[in-house]
Symmetry: C2
Subunit: 132 residues, 2 copies
């Protein structure tokens, strides 16, 4: 059963709040990195690039956890557990630019490497545990 | 082989930098929460309480990941992968008070619940990947 993100904490997505995204390595051990986060149609969206460790990981095992921490208060956060239900390049470039606008105030994502292909993970939320 | 924390990033521990600690649930899925972090004798130290989800998890599977994010710059962080090599209550009360001093400026940890027993995880670092 999908769960929804708690309404009282939706303000986290209005701020420059980071998520700590965890994926699983081939041996099952965890890999955690900070990411930009977005919330669309009840799913959590994370934008990455083809071939990165997290990209390889979610294609093998879609189970992830994202701790989304209030940009204004690190003691207020939501732990989201879920599964990557869709991996797509469609719309990923537009989306990373929208994220650059939100997090950096820039119209175009400035960190793109030569040849980098953006990819979008749509994460179905199975549990969302608010704290603080 | 144990790895060491990169010297150039040791300033993270001088600041109020949070770690995103990931442990593994019984089914192998990840669980990620923000924690205070400390660095002692080449190990990463995290303080928690007996019986919490992360406490149960590390006793079953010691593999963890901690993304330690610069309190002054979320684009600068170190991803630490490792194993909990020691779980102890010895010194855990003194340690949580030291952490309260660092993170909150208070001599005594103010969030203790009735009956709460603090516990210290000493994490051997197997990989430390600096970014930014």
């Amino acid at each position: 059963m999908p769960a929804s993100f708690p309404e009282k904490y939706l303000d986290l997505f209005q701020k420059k709040s980071f998520g700590a995204l965890t994926t699983l390595m081939p041996d099952g051990s965890p890999q955690t990195t900070p990411v930009w986060v977005d919330y669309k149609n009840g799913d959590l969206w994370v934008n990455s690039a083809l071939g990165r460790q997290k990209d390889k990981n979610v294609r093998r095992d879609p189970r992830v956890c994202v701790a989304i921490i209030d940009a204004d208060n690190p003691y207020r956060y939501v732990e989201v557990r879920g599964k990557v239900k869709e991996i797509t390049q469609s719309g990923a470039d537009e989306h990373i630019n929208a994220m650059a606008k939100k997090y950096l105030g820039q119209d175009v994502y400035p960190f793109r490497q030569p040849g980098e292909q953006r990819v979008l993970y749509k994460i179905a939320i199975s549990k969302a545990l608010p704290v603080g």
